[in-house]
Homo-oligomer: 143 residues x 2
């Protein structure tokens, strides 16, 4: 719960809580839908478009990656996600003129992680990859 990525994700989720309904809820409760076991995933059909709730969970995930990147290096990282159809899509994060993260999304219906540790690890991995790219091309990231 101490990783900059998880803190950013929790902050991002709490930002949706305009009426304070989740004020007394613990952070773990807010992240509960990010935990999906292997068995649960298998039971989820991957036909048709994914539920809007899943899509916004994925969006919050990558927005949190962007926020954590910004906290680390001071440069704004804006995510852009486009779902095409049937759970396929693409997400990219840019900083200045630099694409710091790019991923093709598949089976978005089943988006989730074995436990909160895996969620934190995967988010942090994306943050690190993005920071590495910024370190490689700092002048493009500021362009």
């Amino acid at each position: 719960m101490k990783s900059p990525f998880l803190k950013a994700l929790i902050g991002r989720i709490r930002a949706e809580d305009s009426f304070g309904a989740w004020e007394n809820k613990p952070d773990e409760w807010l992240l509960r839908d990010y935990v999906v076991s292997r068995e649960e995933k298998r039971a989820m059909p991957i036909i048709s478009d994914p539920d809007p709730d899943v899509v916004s969970r994925v969006e919050h995930f990558y927005q949190a990656v962007g926020l954590a990147v910004e906290q680390e290096c001071g440069l704004m990282a804006s995510p852009m996600m486009k779902m095409s159809h049937e759970g396929f899509g693409r997400v990219i994060l840019t900083t200045g003129r630099l694409v710091i993260f790019s991923k093709t999304l598949r089976d978005v219906h089943r988006f989730g992680f074995e436990n909160l540790g895996v969620l934190a690890r995967e988010g942090t991995k994306a943050v690190q990859m993005a920071l590495d790219i910024i370190r490689e091309y700092p002048e493009v990231a500021k362009a």
Copy 2:
């Protein structure tokens, strides 16, 4: 009609014609919806989400920019467009790790050009801007 951008746009539109219904139609006819006069624009309401037809016209426009860029420099330029709400959105084109074009879209309901000359000029301008950026950071465009 000779500009690489317009040729790419016409090619992109003809690619939709799976049944050959437009085979005998002239190029000008295919582009007719891109021409919107100032008076017509004023008469268009900009409330609610824009018509899907307009959105795909905008998408074809930027896909044609990407195709023309690719023809000029040999590097694939993939566009990504995201409409948020009420005619607002964002479009970016990337090549490798480089953002070669980025634009905030507003009032997409009224997307169109005074005449085909203006359409060609605006498309060519976007292609040139993108090519300039690639020339500035060639190693990032190939990354």
